[in-house]
């Protein structure tokens, strides 16, 4: 039986942010590029996002934040992922995030931030190059 390794990506909308068109556009683009995307829907708590990532054993999490809460959400998410034993999951994000905050987010472990206007091809290319199947250990 041949191996069928698909990359799984969780696309999540944390907090009070109510606009998910961007997240859905990215989700569809990822699907069209051959990835399996789990979309959480709106108003997710960080705990819910971590649980979904754990249950679905995703390779990466894409967070969409338009509300300005990124300096709370990302560090808290990274901390909770570590506590859940999921620190090998690649975290990236997008939305309304000031350029100045991007280095601080990368410092806590976020791998990349895609600002509005980023071509979808660029996001897809980045995911293909930076999200790999995680090592197996029985």
């Amino acid at each position: 039986m041949s191996q069928e390794r698909k990359i799984k990506i969780l696309i999540a909308k944390p907090g009070l942010d109510g606009h998910d068109r961007g997240a859905k556009v990215v989700a569809r683009a990822l699907r069209d590029a051959g990835f399996e995307v789990i979309y959480t829907g709106l108003h997710q708590s960080i705990d819910q996002i971590v649980q979904a990532a754990l249950e679905e054993d995703v390779d990466a999490i894409g967070i969409s934040i338009l509300s300005g809460a990124h300096m709370y959400v990302f560090p808290t998410l990274m901390q909770k992922l570590k506590e859940a034993g999921l620190d090998d999951v690649v975290v990236f994000g997008g939305g309304i995030i000031p350029l100045d905050d991007i280095p601080k987010l990368k410092e806590v472990g976020v791998k990349e931030i895609f600002l509005p206007g980023t071509p979808l091809e660029e996001i897809i290319e980045w995911v293909k190059n930076n999200v790999k199947p995680r090592p197996v250990k029985l």
Partner: protein, 318 residues
Amino acid sequence: MGLIEQLLKGDRRAAARAMRLVEDNYPEGREILKRVYPYSGRAYVIGITGPPGAGKSTMIDKLVKHLRKQGKKVGIIAIDPTSPFSGGAILGDRIRMQEHSLDEGVFVKSLATRGHLGGLAKCTDDIIQVMDAMGLDIIIVETVGVGQDEVDIVKTADTTIVVTVPGLGDDIQAIKAGVLEIADIFVVNKGDKPEADKTVRELKIMIDMSAPREDGWKPKVYKVSALKDEGFEELIQGIYEHKKFLEKTGRFESYRKDRLENLFLIMLKDKLANNLISKMKEKGIYDKLINEMFEKKIDPYSVVESIECECSIEGEKI
């Protein structure tokens, strides 16, 4: 402690990892399945199918709530279609099951069909084994919802539930023949709508007019409203009644044996075919053969007829 030991103790992270290895067909996945097989068979499997828009996911969300009240640990396998063009998928059933997202007694696994037909993913039975091994009491499998030909669920579930909603146009006709026959239980969702009672009546008439089933079970019809959280206690009672019926008549065992045989045959055919195809490709005769058949130098029927294999099973030659 290794992954398998942790899985058997009910560790969720280990279980999720194991499911992924099984889903993606890693050799380690097969190793896991071999080791947990002796522990399988404890969980009760409920299959849920029906046309899109019937509210399957929302209904499952409420069903789980009531099962949890009874102290049952529940697994949900939610299946969505893979895009035939890109091979990717959007798995969005989790959105409807938010109520249990932090409940440690509920485990939700989304699966893409990856081209497999019949309403399920190829690895669905294997994922059930893993959920069983982790100690879940009830496993709910939600099929891809088209409602025409998605009847594989009947080979996988102990109780098969077909969900419909009132006002789907043709009502009963909207549930195609194959799907009608596989239902152990019919659920009319969106029961708060005025036409719901009519749909229930039509289903009951249809059941009364149909030839009795070979196993003697008369399908039951329940009306629920996921919106108002009504009708679920009765539905659960109905599921337990079906379970008791299966146990009393010995069908529980015989159906599970059929399930096992079905699984075995699928794996067997896969292995034989893949082995042969690999050998042909190795020897460089595969493409040549395809071309010769296409150029009508030979016909595919004779080619297949000419196949002879030497096989052994469990070390013994057949």
